[in-house]
Structures are given as structure tokens and as C-alpha cells.
Symmetry: C2
Subunit: 423 residues, 2 copies
């Protein structure tokens, strides 16, 4: 039985998903808004805002916020994505009232002090530097910039120092009231949690009679642009991301592409792992991933290879995608389905994963899914569906890529595109 | 009630820890042996062996091993540490017999094919390259090499290409039979698992009447050496690891140092986070960790800073360690205890974390601990214990450090040592 979604008078939605046998819980407040809602001038503000609300909110200082949660043995976290911003508390049973008090303050009543803002721009500047230093962060950033060139989705979530510098407490406050509008907030709890208590706490924390927020305009639709980036850096390995335009979260073929991705490079029995790593020894790390948004999506492959192996690994990846699109084995299909379902059932035992999944499904689909319903969707996918999705991935004739490493590796993205197009 | 430890006739120990309400389980086979058991000539062999057993074991090929586990929706993993090697299956209930069949083959009946071995040396070579490229892997390696200079604990677990090259299927086979000796194996399951089934499966899989193994000699005791390393690399940030000689896992002050570390740099309310990041904005990431072995241990601090901020951050860290050793606040002590206990109780809800903790406790202490007993040990620590541990950390007059980044950051380790020694 899936839990019921409750809507408060001010538009905040609430969902409670008790899990038997647990003594801990997760409370998530997930906002249907993130970096994608920024303009070029406000690039990085969603993430900066997520940092800033921790500097003081409600009656609590920065230190009091973390002391409150950590003092009862819990922990508090937040994450900014392209489309969602999430604030989370993990704690033992009994920690719900304090968790709600702190998280609702963060989301609704941040202090946004000007002096704190200047200091926090420096901290985010260091986070930007750290991402630049980390090869497998940087290469994803480069590929994303090619895949969605000229669109918000192509910009790094952290933003750039130049777009953060002009933010003031006032302009960030306007951005805050727009992005964290009440009707785009879902409060989601899972684990050792009681629905009546959750509802009463949410009503008290959010039903504060505030005037309705002026929401930001919804972000403009994105499109897969494509293109190849290469950045030279003195590294032992070449880091490689290869992307094809795929399905959005709303696409009826969403589950089909998930299965396709799983067969291609999901686990150690996947084609890429077996061919590129095991049979040819061209990469230590290789895997495929789905990157889906509300309106667009992509299938991506990451590989870490030797410089001389980057182009061969990219070519082999293209060949494996074409082979898989042409012919799906029965055994591997059954395995990929079992993998996805196994992952699904195991994640449901984690309070945080469950709370987040529920909130995200409310945002994307306005409803929840029972594990059995998702399992049935996975089971319903047949070889002909996979062929259709595979052909669609290739037929677009587009790809995006990024290579980070020595000059010798630089042509790997083009090699991928050529091998994909070859008859 | 803690589960019972069973010992089979061949010395393998078994522990089963059912968790109510779950539909999944974790099965771990943990060996009391790892990189520390290597000589200079066999550096990296424990990790290479962990890779090699996946290339074929029992009647299964490399591909059949992963297909078996992934085909039933589970996943399989392994990890090599300095003192332990662990093989793990996560799966849904019903997956135990296959999990046991595969894992016991990996541990007891690896094929060790010469051609596979040559290929796998290349894959591990790429893993070594990847670690070298990742700043926060590399800086830990450099610091560890200073802390335990001249000892196996100071060598990277991955080894070096030069020490892997000479390995043959035969010499690695001898190493395998020594390292994975039956009396150093613990089979540990947690989650949706039945003790009688686990015992019967383990007896069948391990009680194979094989002649007793010739174990390797136990590794020699280690000592904290100390010293400062600096590696120049063109990076946006300076990556910094600072270490002080601390307690071993067997030390009566083990829990006291855990609390000390938590207060110093465990969470966002810790002294280092509040001072170095929040008050002075010198680092984006800063945290403290305990690194304990059977006979030695260290307290470590990692920071990512701007190049010019590396030495100031290191100095401030030294001052905060001295301040904490001199005076512990009541509130922070209560918070650190709540944090450690909260983490303990939440981890117990994860089947894998529980299975691994049980196995590690059997190896280190020959027994299991009820959560309540650990909580009592934590609660028993008082301010005078923390003062003693703090003074001990400083009084040794030793430190180890590593800095990775621009030349400007290079003196941060020495700055840390000087600030620590200053009256």
C-alpha cells in the first residue's frame, strides 16, 4: 500500500512512509527547483542559497542549527541539483520535532546576513576549486556543458565566482522566496515515524499564514546540443565521458532506457565492463548511467583509461551500444531486470532513500509508486522495446563528450562519434 | 542480545545477525589479513589477489561469477585494507545459498590463471594511475608514507607496478593459501537471514576436508615515524593531511580518542568546522578522523584550502587541538557522545554495516558487542579522560603531514608541527 499524499492549506505537500522494525528515521524537505531555475546572471545562486540558509535561520545561528541536530545524535545535510533542492535530517526516533523545526526554518526563515554572504562566497569559491581539481568531477562538467550548450542544464551547479559575486542579501532573498515557494515544497519522512505527528508538525511549521510567494518562472525547455570537449591536464589517466541524447523522466520509454543502460554498463556483468575492461583491459573503471530531467535526458558512459587507450575504449563503447541496440540476449535482459528490481527493493529499506524517492515522485508525477508497480513496469519491457530505444539513441546522430588528460587522449570523443556513425 | 559465534571444525568462524522487518541481507566473508601482511617484494599482492579471485573460482568463470549474483538482483563487492580483506554480497532474501557458493569459491577455490593475471596487472596499474590523479587519494597516501615510514603500513595498499610485475600464478597461489587461512576467516551475515541455514551452508562450503593452510607470519609491529611530505602539483586547491600518533584499536583509550576526534572535527558543530571554515573561511572541507590498527593508530585531519591558506589552516588546526586538550566543554562532550551513539544505532540498521562490524569485532576482540555495551563505553568517558588523551596526542612531540598543491602551500606541515610545539 502506498502512503497517502496530504496537501496543507498553503500548498505544502506531506508524505509519511513508516518502515517496520526501524528505530531511526529520515526527514526530507524537497523543493521542486534548483540550478535550472537560474538565469546566466544568477548561475550558482540555488547552491549558494542552500549554503546560506545554514548560516542562520529562524531563531538559530549557524552553530545552533548544527548543534541542535548533532546534539541529539542526528545529522543534517542538503543537496542542490539541476531540478531539486533537498534538505535532510537523519536521526533516531524521537528526533522528528526538532528535525522539523530546524529544516522548516532553513527553508522558510533563513537569516541571509550580508556579512555571512560575503564569507560564504569564499567557501563556495573553494568548493568550485575543489571540483576543478577532481578529474572525475571536472570531466562530467565539461561533457554536460557540451550536451546542453547554451542552456542552464549545461552550466555547473556550483556556478562561477563571477556570477556569485554580485549576489546581495536582498537579491538572494528575492531568489529564495521565488525558488522555495510553498507549492513546490514536499515534506517527506520515512522510517520510525508516525503520520499524525508528522502532519501536525508540518502544519505548525509551514502553515504560518505568510502571504503567497511569487514563484520564479518555470525554466525553459532544454535540448541536447552535442559536441566534443577536450581539456589537457597532466594526469596519469584519461578521463572520458560519452553521452547520447536519451529519454526524459516523463518519457514512456524511461524504464526501457534504464534497462538498456543497465545491460550496457550497469554492473560487472554488463557489456562494457566485460568487453572494455575484462576482455580488452582498456579501462579500470567503466560504467553507464542515465541522466534524466523533466524534459530531456541522456545516456552517459564514464571511463578511466590510459591515454593511448582512450580512443580505442571510446570506439569499443560505440560498437557495444550498436550491438546492444541490434540484439538483446535473453539472459542479460533477465539479469538487468533482476538488478533494477533488487536495487529498488534494497533501497526501500533505507529511510533516506525512501523519503527522497517519495518526494521526487510527487514532484515528477504527482503520485507515489508501490514497489510492485515499478517492478511490473520493469518486467513489462521486452526486446522490441529495447531495440526501439537503442535505435533512437543512435538515430539521433548526436553525441556529446569530454576528455580530460594528456593530448594523446584528446580525439576520443570524435572517435566515439565516428564509430557510432560508421555503417 | 548479541548473536552467538560458531566455530567450524576447520577453524572458520560464523556469525548470524537477523534484523527484523528487512527483506534483504548482507553476507560478508572477512579475512584477518591484508596489505600489512605483505613484504616489500609482495607489496600490493593482497589487493591484486582480491582482484584475481574474481577472474575465476570454483567452476565459474569471471563472467559467471558476476552473472550469478547480478542475475538474482544482488551485487558483489570486495575491499582490501591494511589488516582485513572483505568479500561481500548484498541480495534479497533467498539469495543466501548462491551468495555463499560464490563467495566461498572466491576465497577458497580461485582459479588464478596466468593469462588472467597478466591482464589484471594492467587493470590494477590503471587503478594505481587513477589514485595518483585524485588529489584526495594521493595526499592520504603521502601522509601515510610519512606516518609509517619504513613499515608496511606506510605503503599504498595498491602496491606499485614494480612489485606486482614479478607475481606469478604460482607465487600468488602460495600467498593466497597463506593469507586466506581458514582460521582467519569469519563468515558474517545480517538482515533477512536464518542462522541454521547460514551454518549449514557455511559447513558445506568451507568444511571441505582440505589440509590445513600454512599461514603467513603475522606482520611485524608498526610505529609512528612522522615527517612532512610536500608534492607540487598544479591544482586550484591545496590538499592537506595532518596526523598525530594516537591509539590502537586495542587501547583502553580507543573510545576516548573517538570522542576527542568527533569534538575536534567530526561534524559541522565540531571545533575545526566552526573555527577553520565558519569563523575564518580558510577551508571548504575540513574534518578529523581516527585511523586505528591493531597495534598503532593516529588522529588525522584533512583540509582542502587555498594555497595561501594552507599554513594558516594548519596552524589554526594545531591551536584547536591544544585548546581541546586543555579544556573540554560540557555541551560539546554531550554532543559528541550523542553523535557517536546515533551513528552506531543508525549503522546497525544497514545489513552490510552490521555484518562487517560483527566480523571485524570477532577478528579484533574475539567477541561481539551489543549496541548498549558500546553506548555505555561511550557514556563512561569523562573530561579527565579526554584531557589525558589530548595531552598524549601532543606530548609525543611527533607529527606526520602531506601537502599536495602549489609550492606556496608546501610549508603547511612544518607550520602545523611548530604551532603544536609552541608553548
Amino acid at each position: 500500500m502506498t502512503p497517502k499524499i496530504h496537501t496543507l492549506s498553503n500548498g505544502v505537500r506531506v508524505v509519511c512512509d513508516p518502515i517496520g522494525g526501524l528505530e531511526s528515521l529520515a526527514l526530507s524537505i524537497v523543493i521542486d527547483g534548483g540550478a535550472r531555475w537560474e538565469t546566466e546572471a544568477t548561475a550558482g545562486w540555488a547552491h549558494l542559497l542552500e549554503h546560506m540558509v545554514f548560516k542562520g535561520a529562524g531563531a538559530r545561528s549557524s552553530r545552533e542549527i548544527v548543534e541542535a541536530i548533532e546534539g541529539q545524535g542526528g545529522n543534517i545535510n542538503a543537496a542542490t541539483g539541476q531540478e531539486r533542492t533537498s534538505f535532510q535530517v537523519r536521526c533516531l526516533t524521537g528526533g522528528l520535532p526538532l528535525g522539523m523545526s530546524v529544516l522548516s526554518d532553513l527553508v522558510r526563515r533563513p537569516t541571509l546576513d550580508p556579512a555571512d554572504l560575503e564569507k560564504e562566497k569564499g567557501v563556495v569559491g573553494q568548493e568550485i576549486a575543489e571540483a576543478a581539481d577532481t578529474p572525475d568531477d571536472r570531466v562530467f562538467e565539461l561533457a554536460q556543458a557540451r550536451a546542453y550548450a547554451g542552456h542552464a542544464l549545461g552550466r555547473p551547479i556550483l556556478g562561477e565566482v563571477a556570477s556569485l559575486t554580485p549576489a546581495t542579501a536582498e537579491t538572494l532573498g528575492v531568489f529564495h522566496r521565488g525558488l522555495y515557494a510553498a507549492d513546490r515544497i514536499v515534506v517527506s519522512a520515512a522510517g520510525a515515524v508516525d503520520e499524525d505527528e508528522l502532519l501536525a508538525l508540518t502544519e505548525a511549521a509551514f502553515g504560518d499564514g505568510r502571504a503567497p510567494d511569487r514563484p520564479l518562472n518555470r525554466p525553459s525547455p532544454a535540448a541536447f546540443a552535442g559536441g566534443h570537449a577536450a581539456e589537457t591536464r597532466k594526469l596519469e589517466q584519461a578521463h572520458l565521458v560519452l553521452m547520447l541524447p536519451g529519454v526524459s523522466r516523463q518519457d514512456p520509454d524511461f524504464f526501457t532506457q534504464m534497462i538498456f543502460t543497465e545491460m550496457l554498463g550497469g554492473g560487472m556483468s554488463s557489456r562494457l565492463f566485460q568487453e572494455v575492461r575484462e576482455a580488452h583491459g582498456l579501462a579500470y573503471a567503466i560504467d553507464a548511467y542515465n541522466d534524466a530531467y523533466e524534459d530531456v535526458g541522456a545516456l552517459g558512459v564514464y571511463a578511466g583509461t590510459g591515454a593511448a587507450d582512450a580512443a580505442p575504449a571510446a570506439r569499443l563503447t560505440a560498437q557495444e551500444i550498436k550491438k546492444l541496440a541490434a540484439n538483446v540476449g535473453e539472459g542479460e535482459l533477465a539479469r538487468a531486470k533482476a538488478q533494477l528490481k533488487g536495487g529498488l527493493f534494497m533501497r526501500r529499506e533505507s529511510p533516506l532513500a525512501r523519503a527522497e524517492a517519495n518526494a521526487n515522485n510527487i514532484h515528477s508525477f504527482g503520485r507515489l509508486f508501490a514497489a510492485r508497480e515499478l517492478a511490473e513496469k520493469i518486467d513489462a519491457v521486452g526486446p522490441q522495446d529495447l531495440r526501439r530505444v537503442g535505435e533512437r539513441l543512435i538515430a539521433a546522430g548526436q553525441s556529446a563528450s569530454a576528455v580530460l588528460g594528456s593530448k594523446r587522449a584528446a580525439g576520443a570523443g570524435e572517435a566515439f562519434a565516428e564509430a557510432l556513425a560508421a555503417g
